[in-house]
């Protein structure tokens, strides 16, 4: 087996053991990143740590929409989240599912009811659906707050942070502090028209940049490093 193939295999299995100075080195050169020179280092960093998975031997699919399932697996890995004492059962992610452990670990940080305030939530998670800006911001902010890497703003700080956000009125009351934290923490970047664009979906390249940026900004350990 060639070194490249071995590394890719390890990456796909999620336990690549790259040295710290190899973090930005691509284990394999993806052929579909030519139009993404800015995002390529972040993608390579995430893939080399096994946080994100390629879609093929030489393809990352940077413009494909990130699914909730993919995102949850990445967050589980990146933050080394443990299993909750009590499982949350989803009808479409049973214990036999490959992503069951990741879903269980991340569910406490999903803020589902906060984002869908007033909703009677369905029993299904819909992991194949694209993940929205709101979901990414909520999960990242909740985990970082829990890890004390990010402070949850006060009510006044929240409203100040959201004052110039054009679609802030669509953010439900319980979600507002986390959206504000995500904004001030650089997890969320405003779109055109100063909008968070809550329902807009993220591409895989965008998610790689968010993970990479958070890892650097909040000094999160690389997952191959001793914790």
């Amino acid at each position: 087996m060639s070194l490249a193939k071995f590394s890719l295999t390890c990456a796909l299995l999620g336990f690549v053991a790259a040295a710290p100075n190899m973090a930005a080195q691509p284990a394999v050169e993806f052929k579909d990143l030519a139009a993404h020179p800015v995002e390529t280092p972040a993608i390579n960093n995430m893939v080399s740590q096994g946080i994100m998975k390629p879609v093929g031997a030489t393809e990352f699919a940077p413009d494909a929409a990130e699914t909730l399932g993919e995102f949850v697996v990445s967050v589980h890995s990146m933050f080394n989240l443990g299993q909750p004492a009590k499982a949350t059962e989803f009808g479409d992610v049973t214990a036999k599912s490959a992503i069951y452990a990741a879903v269980q670990a991340v569910t406490p940080y999903m803020g589902r009811q906060m984002l869908c305030f007033g909703c009677l939530l369905g029993k299904n998670l819909l992991p194949e659906q694209s993940i929205s800006h709101a979901q990414v911001a909520m999960i990242m902010a909740q985990v970082l707050v829990a890890q004390k890497k990010l402070a949850l703003p006060t009510a006044a700080e929240t409203e100040a942070a959201l004052a110039n956000v054009a679609d802030a009125g669509l953010i439900p009351p319980p979600a507002r502090p986390y959206m504000a934290a995500a904004l001030t923490g650089g997890i969320v970047t405003l779109q055109s028209g100063n909008k968070i664009a809550l329902g807009m979906t993220h591409t895989r390249a965008e998610v790689a940049v968010i993970f990479d940026g958070a890892q650097k900004k909040f000094s999160l350990p690389q997952i191959n490093q001793p914790r």
Binding site: N80, G82, P108, G118, C119, S132, D167, G199
Partner: protein, 573 residues
């Protein structure tokens, strides 16, 4: 009356475990997922009379239930009947725990006859503005517009205590649910955070219109079975819809503007803590599958609440400071505390001057328990440079309410101030003479025992004897000795027990006639019988009691010419 003694404050009811995180060995340990009590975020709640308006939006080709021939079955009638049956039930009583702001005071929905009503219903066959597919779903603005249209079309009035529910259905030929997305566009019945239903509000006619979107639970791909797989009312789709609707209706009552009762750590409202946990309840003789709702009083999901105590407290000219806490001890007439109620925790907002507050808690006592007094204790938690808090209580009303909303007792007190609680006298004790111990139910007895001692003249073997007891409805006669029984020898003791039907209270037992009957054989003359003593007792579930206890030498001599002795109740007891 104000006690001058200083009491230690009672410990308030604890919140359930808050969501916590810990870093253990580098691994982020999971948050506890236990549900928390709901927080009062200060907004209004709905007040009586609360009206529900049901809008079935069913264009051509769209039905409510594909499993029934006409596509409707009892779907519409059951969702309507729910509101006709909901008032004055222990299920609706759950919402009485959650008061809302009414200006500077608080008010709370009362559970009583007519507390909730069906305001109206309407089947709208107008086409949807979108296909209702995943590619072209309905939007929240479409639902709002439908509410406006229904109000205009039916001349309904909206208001602070009305909710408009919009039911969409399922495409009859395909079984495809009508899809819908919320106002943010990020959550839909089929993507994002998939929902089954939601409640919300919009500005309307200078106020707010409160509405709920209800998908067709049985056909929603997001998973909305409500934990119900067997029909209680012959049509599972209808049962599920009622359960789903109960979730949203209770949430709207307790949090109509998204600023009243919800857990700030999770965003959960009263229904969310118990999402899709069903219960079968009977209301006004009709059975329903409903969703359980969160009870702050018990920190659990319940389908009934009560009896309860409602304490309404008016602050006078000196507030209850933001960093102070207060508790109420519910006490028996002698002063023994049997329950503690947290009125205000340290982290809840201050009770401003001249403001009214309502606290409701379960009255977790046997019905025999009297509420003799309420002791309210102020606890100051002084910050730097702060001195003890002083608090003027202007009025207090204590109501003990049944699970179906009836007022079991009410005590209203007022003064100017009624009491002033201070650091040196932090407790006020308020008598509640209107809440005496209920009269214990009268004990009844279903068994009567005769203990008869024969004296110096026996009851012959071929004689018989009866005891006839006067009771309401007529005398009941018992055979003490049948002709076929063996004789009762001189100075012998005989115990006979009989059933009283129906059971009777002690006061119902009247005079008792004991009668000798001779059955003379050839050459026999009438029998004579000396009775030395008679002891009659009765027994029931609550124990025994004496009816009479008489003796003599003899007590009575029964003969052919005087075969009966009349004994009077309570004699000798």
């Amino acid at each position: 009356m104000i006690a001058n003694t200083i009491r230690m404050p009672f410990r308030g009811r604890l919140r359930t475990a808050a969501a916590l995180t810990f870093l253990i060995g580098g691994v982020l340990a999971p948050r506890a997922m236990a549900a928390n009590n709901l927080d009062n975020n200060g907004g209004p709640t709905m007040q009586n009379q609360i009206k529900a308006f049901l809008i079935y939006w069913l264009p051509s080709g769209v039905v409510l239930d594909t499993s029934v021939t006409n596509g409707v079955g009892n779907f519409e009638s059951l969702t309507q009947q729910f509101y006709r049956d909901l008032s004055a039930t222990s299920y609706l009583n759950i919402v009485t725990q959650y008061p809302g702001s009414c200006g500077s005071n608080e008010c709370v929905a009362q559970n009583q006859a007519g507390a909730v009503a069906l305001g109206g219903f309407w089947v709208d066959t107008q086409a949807y503005p979108h296909a209702g597919s995943q590619a072209d779903p309905l939007g929240d603005s479409d639902i709002q517009n439908e509410v406006k249209r229904a109000i205009a079309q039916n001349h309904w009035s909206s208001g602070a205590n009305s909710e408009f529910f919009v039911f969409t259905g399922v495409v009859k030929n395909s079984g495809q649910e009508i899809e819908e997305c919320d106002s943010s566009g990020s959550n839909c019945t089929f993507r994002g955070i998939a929902f089954c239903a939601y409640h919300s509000s919009f500005g309307f006619n200078g106020g707010n219109a409160f509405y709920g979107f209800l998908s067709d639970a049985s056909f929603n791909g997001g998973g909305c079975d409500e934990g119900t797989f067997t029909a209680v009312n012959t049509q599972v789709a209808s049962d599920r819809e009622v359960a789903m609707m109960s979730h949203e209706f209770f949430e709207t009552i307790t949090d109509p503007l998204a600023n009243a009762w919800w857990d700030t750590s999770s965003g959960n409202e009263i229904g969310d803590n118990c999402n899709q946990i069903p219960a079968t309840v009977t209301m006004n003789g009709h059975r329903y599958v409903v969703q359980q709702q969160w009870s702050n009083a018990s920190s659990s999901c319940v389908s009934a609440f009560g009896p309860s105590i409602q304490l309404s407290i008016g602050t006078g000219g000196d507030d209850l400071r933001g960093d102070s806490s207060a508790t109420a001890s519910l006490e028996r007439p002698g002063g023994a505390s049997f329950e503690s109620v947290t009125l205000k925790t340290q982290n809840q907002s201050s009770w401003g001057n001249n403001s009214g507050h309502i606290v409701v808690a379960g009255f977790n006592q046997p019905s025999q328990t009297a509420l003799g007094q309420v002791a309210i204790t102020l606890t100051s938690h002084n910050g730097t440079f702060e001195t003890d808090d002083n608090w003027n209580i202007q009025n207090l009303t204590a109501k003990v309410l049944s699970a179906t909303g009836g007022v079991l007792c009410q005590q209203s007190l007022s003064g100017d101030p009624l009491a002033r609680l201070t650091g040196s006298a932090p407790t006020g004790v308020f008598g509640t003479p209107n809440c005496p111990p209920p009269v214990p139910p009268t004990a009844t007895y279903n068994q009567i025992t005769f203990n008869i001692v024969t004296g110096g003249d026996d009851l012959r073997g071929d004689s018989s004897a009866t005891a006839s007891v006067n009771l309401p409805g007529g005398a009941q006669t018992f055979t003490l000795k049948a002709q076929s029984d063996g004789g009762w020898e001189n100075n012998s003791d005989h115990v006979k027990t009989f059933t009283i039907s129906p059971p009777q209270p002690l006061s119902a037992f009247g005079q008792i006639a004991i009668t000798l009957t001779s059955h003379n054989g050839t050459f026999e003359t009438d029998d004579n019988w000396n009775i030395q003593s008679v002891n009659v007792t009765v027994n029931g579930s609550s124990g025994g009691s004496c009816v009479l206890n008489q003796n003599g030498t003899p007590l009575a001599r029964l003969t052919g010419s005087g075969p009966t002795v009349i004994l009077h109740p309570r004699a000798g007891c």
